[in-house]
């Protein structure tokens, strides 16, 4: 009866030796490396995070120090007075020259070639406390004499725009990461519970989610943030903004996780776990959570830029961050008058920071989306 036991064993049953036991992370990393947008996004994200963390060191100036208001950006030059190329970059301050305009007899404003300010890396400058603790006065780049150089010009109070933008990334990214962290934890937990247990519980949770999603969000932000007194300390105000953003953001995440969980809860390996007698807790943590995670990670990377955008938008309207804190949105508040934009366009540069951030996280999210399900 076992006639076929004599036949040659089919080669299919040989076990692949070479792929070995690559861990999940190694697989994801290998696939992410193949997508250049994903890697570009990852690089930018890492740079942005480093910039935010070491803002004191990277920013050339103290963001609160004032100088001439609305000073234009100073251009880095590699030429000396006679137009010869020199290796060390320098800036020339604008000054009235001794020449007079032949028509108006006004002194002509031009670069002051006689007093070049040499630029260098790791220069001494404004003193600071890194992370508020470690004292230091070295900056990544700046003028070798320690004086102010405004690569992106100054705002109306004469504060350095570049330094403020670098410091601003700290608050902007902090808000984005905190909000997304809260949204992820709450959204994933609610979504998994709702999708796994189903039935009446699911129905009630989903109705509640719908209520949250149906709120007109913008007026709600404005209303909620105006609830808090103007005199409240800035950190309280910031915390409140984060809570409001999270309260309105978790619903979407929970919807997506619930959908994923619904499909997973009926898959054979979950039934197999029930058949060996696993508890609900074990099934959710061991079987559903790891498989939902890939989706969640992608959603997180795509949710961060949307919070950055929201912050810049609310900040522009003056509802997100209050001075003396610095954020990109708050910096953009200065651009609200036409005459300012027309005359001093450089104060729009925080927009570029927002753009780069949004692009970086989106590119990373897209790369991860392809890489994260290697099976």
């Amino acid at each position: 009866m076992l006639a076929f036991s004599n036949s040659p064993p089919p080669p299919e049953e040989k076990i692949k030796q070479k792929s070995g036991n690559e861990s999940y992370l190694a697989l994801v990393w290998r696939r992410l490396k193949r997508s250049w947008t994903g890697m570009g996004g990852l690089t930018l994200v890492v740079l942005l995070l480093l910039m935010a963390i070491f803002a004191e060191f990277i920013a050339p100036l103290d963001p609160k120090a004032t100088d001439t208001g609305f000073a234009p950006p100073q251009v880095i030059s590699f030429h000396d007075k006679d137009g010869n190329f020199v290796l060390q970059p320098r800036v020339y301050a604008l000054a009235e020259t001794s020449d007079l305009d032949p028509v108006t007899f006004q002194p002509i404003v031009g670069p002051d070639y006689d007093h070049p300010r040499l630029l260098g890396l790791f220069v001494k400058g404004d003193p600071y406390h890194l992370f508020g603790l470690i004292p230091g006065n070295r900056h990544l780049f700046g003028a070798t004499d320690g004086g102010p150089v405004h690569f992106l010009g100054t705002d109306k109070f004469g504060r350095d725009v570049l330094s403020r933008a670098i410091y601003g990334s700290r608050i902007s990214l902090m808000i984005a990461l905190t909000v997304v962290a809260i949204v992820t934890v709450v959204g994933t937990a609610v979504g998994m519970i709702s999708g796994y247990f189903g039935g009446t519980l699911d129905a009630w949770i989903q109705r509640f989610v719908e209520v949250v999603l149906a709120f007109p969000q913008l007026p709600l932000y404005l209303a909620l943030t105006s609830l808090i007194p103007v005199t409240a300390p800035t950190n309280v105000f910031l915390a409140f903004v984060i809570v409001v953003m999270s309260a309105l953001g978790w619903a979407q995440m929970s919807r997506e996780v619930r959908g994923k969980t619904l499909a997973l809860a009926r898959i054979d390996y979950v039934r197999a776990a029930m058949a060996v007698g696993a508890t609900d807790r074990r099934i959710i943590l061991q079987h559903i959570f790891p498989n939902v995670m890939s989706h969640v990670i992608v959603t997180v990377t795509l949710a961060i830029p949307s919070v950055v955008l929201l912050e810049s938008f609310l900040g522009f309207l003056g509802f997100a961050v209050k001075p003396p804190l610095i954020s990109w949105g708050l910096m953009l508040q200065d651009t609200s008058t036409y005459s300012v934009i027309g005359s001093y366009p450089w104060i729009l540069t925080p927009v570029a920071f927002v753009l780069v951030t949004v692009f970086a996280f989106n590119a990373l999210g897209d790369g991860l989306r392809d890489a994260i399900d290697p099976y």
Partner: protein
């Protein structure tokens, strides 16, 4: 001498036998296809040569991964972008090499002179267009005819493929048709422009056994009427035997053997073909030891689902009875088959007996203890004694867990084994019993083939040392030769460990090889039951007879 036949084409003998005109419709030479993968190139098809003559059916047989579908898709020009066709390859249709055609010229050929039908009729039709408009589109892409003429032609085609009530079907959407009817629509679309060649890629694999015979007969009749040549791609040797004139056997992208169907089945030359032919499930269950006590008993078990019809505001709740008051009794050491077409309620019944699904009535006893109405927590002490193996080994293993974690889970949950080392020992033991090496504990499921995964799933079940295992179509997702190995394994485990099986299947061949008794189900009711030989050789109901005929003869 025997191997000299392999790869040497014998046109004379074949032409004499079939009495064909000399030129083949399709003359494929040295087809070689590689796929770009992460680390280099993988050979999918290496040097395949075949000929197809007018009015003939050739079968390309092979197990999954043998490259048979890739070969067909090369002929159609439907390969993915990652595929690289070798320069030496040539597919001559009508004397011209179509592989050298532009994409535009190939598109004109495709669906016009050469048509293809696919395995999955559920996904090959666009759900948002009516049947009629999809057939009309297939006609009007290639022919300049008015919409009305095309519609008339569509109706003729539907009549030709023998769909009941063809006028009404034209206006219907794919979801309103059954799987068999959809496959008929696919055939109608493929025939829309009177093709010379029809390529059928596993046309019946997704269909019920009884429908399978009808579809294959339809293809054969149409072939005779229209004088087409047919390439039948399949893994099912019964189908090959009944429906093809000439057979090509493929393995690992290479041609192992080809011959006329009769000669190949009578006298297989290549060891792989011999192996395939002997892989058909055979043998039968060992007789039961006397006086076995009952391990599982169900008394008038009922499972019903509430279906919602009508509008949102005026819901019309209807009850669908999936399992209608069934009685079942399974003894120790016994294998009981549960057969029926899809939708007959056999899986629901099986899971209800294990209390993986709630019942709406009836009593279930496991080893004398009542288990109906027990909650999941109350069931837990019994869980290690009853286990389940699922049909699809790809969805039954968690992709994020290692093999060790997967098998060990049941031991941890049930507090079996006093410490980690002891559990590990049991996991290894289970793997070895299931015919797998014990050094794969830190691997992930995706590194294994379907058959290996099914062994791992079996290892998970037997690691708990159960007394009873529910086998829910454990072999139907597997290749024939792997299927034979799994059946062997199940037999061996039953012998060694005295297991009882409830074996759910639609494949009566496997049931005959493995089961002592069989229950035939239809629409949630038991049609017939008894010792397996008796039921299969003397079916009492027409339904059982149809199932038996479909399994052992295909042609009805």
């Amino acid at each position: 001498m025997a191997l000299a036949l392999v790869n040497s084409f014998a046109p004379d003998r074949r032409l004499d036998a079939a009495n064909k005109t000399a030129a083949p419709v399709i003359d494929a030479r040295n087809i070689a296809v590689k796929f770009k993968v992460e680390d280099g190139m993988v050979d999918a098809v290496k040097d395949i040569t075949f000929q197809l003559y007018r009015g003939e059916t050739i079968a390309i047989v092979g197990e999954s991964g043998s490259g048979k579908s890739v070969t067909a898709r090369t002929v159609m020009g439907l390969l993915t972008k990652r595929a690289v066709v070798s320069n030496r390859s040539a597919v001559h249709y009508d004397g011209k090499n179509v592989l050298k055609f532009s994409e535009r010229a190939r598109r004109q050929l495709r669906g016009d002179r050469i048509s293809m039908i696919f395995q999955e009729p559920m996904s090959s039709l666009n759900p948002i267009y009516t049947i009629g408009s999809q057939i009309v589109e297939a006609i009007r892409v290639h022919r300049k005819v008015s919409r009305r003429d095309a519609e008339k032609r569509a109706l003729d085609l539907l009549k030709q493929v023998q769909i009941p009530d063809p006028e009404a079907r034209l206006k219907q959407y794919p979801h309103q048709l059954s799987g068999g009817q959809r496959q008929r629509v696919m055939i109608a679309m493929a025939l829309a422009n009177d093709p010379d060649v029809l390529i059928a890629d596993e046309p019946t694999t997704a269909l019920d056994v009884t429908v399978q015979a009808q579809i294959l007969n339809l293809i054969r009749n149409l072939q005779k009427q229209l004088g087409m040549a047919v390439i039948l791609i399949t893994h099912d040797l019964t189908v090959v035997r009944q429906f093809s004139d000439y057979v090509y056997v493929m393995q690992h992208g290479e041609m192992r053997e080809h011959n006329t169907t009769e000669a190949l089945f009578a006298n297989p030359q290549h060891p792989y073909t011999q192996h395939l032919l002997t892989s058909e499930p055979r043998g039968q269950a060992k007789p039961l030891p006397p006086n076995c006590d009952t391990i599982l008993e169900g008394k008038s078990v009922k499972v019903a689902f509430m279906l919602r019809h009508g509008s949102f505001f005026k819901p019309d709740m209807r009850e669908l009875v999936a399992v209608d008051s069934l009685n079942i009794e399974l003894r120790r050491h016994e294998t009981l088959g549960l057969v029926g077409e899809s939708g007959s309620g056999k899986t629901t019944f099986g899971q209800a007996l294990l209390r993986l699904m709630d019942t709406d009535g009836g009593e279930i006893f496991f080893d004398g203890q009542p288990i109906h109405g027990r909650s999941r927590a109350e069931m837990r002490p019994l869980r290690s004694r009853m286990q389940i193996v699922f049909q699809d080994p790809f969805s039954s293993l968690n992709p994020r867990m290692t093999i060790g974690q997967i098998i060990c889970e049941g031991l941890i949950v049930n507090n079996l084994g006093s410490n980690k080392a002891e559990r590990l020992e049991r996991v290894k033991e289970a793997l070895v019993s299931a015919g797998m090496p014990s050094n794969i504990l830190s691997r992930f499921p995706h590194e294994f083939s379907g058959g290996q995964r099914q062994r791992i799933a079996i290892a998970r079940a037997i690691a708990l040392e159960p007394e009873f295992i529910l086998l829910d179509e454990p072999t139907s997702a597997l290749d024939l030769s792997v299927q034979a190995q799994i059946i062997d394994l199940l037999r061996k485990l039953q012998d060694e460990k005295g297991l009882s099986y409830l074996f759910i299947s639609h494949d009566l061949k496997v049931v005959r090889a493995l089961c002592h008794r069989v229950i035939v189900m239809q629409h949630g009711k038991i049609m017939e039951q008894g010792p397996v030989e008796e039921v299969l050789s003397h079916p009492k109901t027409a339904y059982t007879e149809r199932l038996v005929r479909a399994a052992f003869e295909v042609a009805s």
